[in-house]
Each structure stands twice: as structure tokens, then as C-alpha cells.
């Protein structure tokens, strides 16, 4: 439905300037969840917004080359897999479900390992939210891909 790029030099310039900063801020929000407001859900939404903005102003051909619509469900599933495995792998190594202290990262111990486990899980949540939102947008547009 969005076939060609938006015919306005102002919109094009502002969007192409904004998108890298939105992506950088999304990564900051995901990784800063330990110390301030933020986390996987918010960061995933920001990442998805950066892709959706590309879809809106670049048009179909260029933005589908930059991020293929077929990749979106793959990202979502990979995020779910990261979360599920970080719950199941500690069970193999003698802990309980989602007990990050038993993750097999042997050079980190105890509380540090639990902190790292929280980060891994947040990355999984971010990927899931990102993939799901881009998937919903691509299907709302109604393009057959």
C-alpha cells in the first residue's frame, strides 16, 4: 500500500536523522533496565518504531530491503527461545526453573550471574516485542509478501 517514498525533503531528512538515534536510545533503554526505568518491553517497542518509521517514509521497496518482513516473526521466535532456554538450562545444571544463578557461564558467580541472567532475559523480551510489533504492522498494511 505504501509504494514509494514520501515526497517531501523535510520529512525525509528528519526521519533519516532520527532513526539512528531512536535505535541507539532503544538499546540504551534495554541495557539500562538494571539502573533506571526501562527494560525489554520499552526498548523493544522503540526498536519496532524505528523500523515502522522506515516503512512509512521510505516506501515498500527500500524498507523491505533494509528489514525484510519475513524476518519479523523469526526475531520474535528467537526472543521467546532465549527466554525459554534461560529458564530451562538452569534446570539441567541443578537449579530450579528460571534460576539464573545456575546458568552455565562459569566465570561469573552468584549475584553477578543473576544480574547477567536478568540482562539476557531482557534482551529476549526486547526481541520478542520488536518482532511482534513489526509483524502486526506489516500485516495491517495489507501488503502481500
Amino acid at each position: 500500500m505504501i509504494k514509494e517514498r514520501y515526497q517531501s525533503i523535510i520529512v525525509q531528512t528528519i526521519c533519516s536523522l532520527l532513526i539512528p538515534f531512536i535505535q541507539l536510545f532503544a538499546l540504551y533503554v534495554i541495557f539500562h533496565g538494571h539502573y533506571g526505568p526501562g527494560g525489554g518491553f520499552q526498548g523493544g517497542v522503540l526498536l519496532a518504531v524505528s523500523v515502522i518509521l522506515q516503512r512509512l517514509y521510505l516506501g515498500k521497496e527500500v524498507s523491505y530491503q533494509r528489514f525484510s518482513p519475513k524476518l519479523a516473526p523469526v526475531f520474535g521466535a528467537i526472543g521467546m527461545l532465549i527466554f525459554g532456554l534461560s529458564g530451562l538450562i538452569p534446570m539441567v545444571f541443578g537449579g530450579s526453573f528460571l534460576d539464573y544463578a545456575y546458568l552455565p557461564i562459569f566465570w561469573v558467580h552468584g549475584a553477578e550471574l543473576r544480574s547477567l541472567g536478568i540482562l539476557i532475559v531482557e534482551i529476549g523480551i526486547g526481541l520478542t516485542v520488536f518482532g511482534t510489533l513489526v509483524l502486526i504492522f506489516d500485516n495491517l498494511i495489507g501488503e502481500r509478501w
Binding site: G33, P37, A111, I118, G131, T132, L135, I136
Partner: protein, 105 residues
């Protein structure tokens, strides 16, 4: 058979209203959740997880099971949206029978 669901729902509602009477008051300091669960989370967060943000440590570590369910819900909802919105190839040759034999039962 449809009217049968109404008394079941009313019974369920009555059970829920009855059970509400057993809950502690809102923000009651003597409630079980506030006497030992909340203080433990607040005091032990740094020691257990080295995470200064208590919200994150509760969300992803202490109550990680809840967050796992939340993420599954989001992903499943997205997939369901795709199934509804997806453009299917219409295939008129394969007609769907409207009357099933189960209507007779």
C-alpha cells in the same frame, strides 16, 4: 442449552464476591504480602541480584515466571493478529459444508 450458562455464571459470581470478603484491606500493613514478602524483596535485592532497580529485579528475577507468561501472551497475540489479518487465497472450489451432523445432537 444456552440458558444453562446463566446460573453457572451467577454461582461463580457469588463465589467470587464471597471470596472477596476474605481478602486483606487495600494497603493493610498487616497483610501477609506486606509483612514479609515486600521487605524481603526491598532488602535483599542488591545482595541477591546486584541490581539497584528493584522493579527490574522483581520483574525478571523474583517473578520471572510471570514475565515469561506475559511475553508468551504478547507473541501469541501477535500471531493471532496475523492469522486474522493475513490475505488468504480465496478458493471457491472447495466449498465448506454449512450443516454438520453435530447439529442433530
Amino acid at each position: 442449552m444456552k440458558w444453562l450458562s446463566a446460573p453457572v455464571m451467577i454461582l461463580f459470581l457469588a463465589l467470587m464476591v464471597y471470596a472477596t470478603g476474605g481478602l486483606p484491606d487495600h494497603a493493610d500493613p498487616q497483610a501477609p504480602a506486606n509483612t514479609h514478602v515486600t521487605p524481603t524483596y526491598i532488602e535483599d535485592t542488591i545482595e541477591d541480584t546486584h541490581t539497584p532497580n528493584i522493579v527490574t529485579s522483581v520483574l525478571a528475577d523474583y517473578r520471572g515466571y510471570d514475565t515469561l507468561g506475559e511475553t508468551v501472551v504478547i507473541f501469541t497475540a501477535g500471531l493471532a493478529c496475523v492469522l486474522i489479518l493475513m490475505k488468504r487465497k480465496t478458493n471457491d472450489k472447495r466449498a465448506i459444508p454449512k450443516h454438520h451432523s453435530s447439529d442433530d445432537m
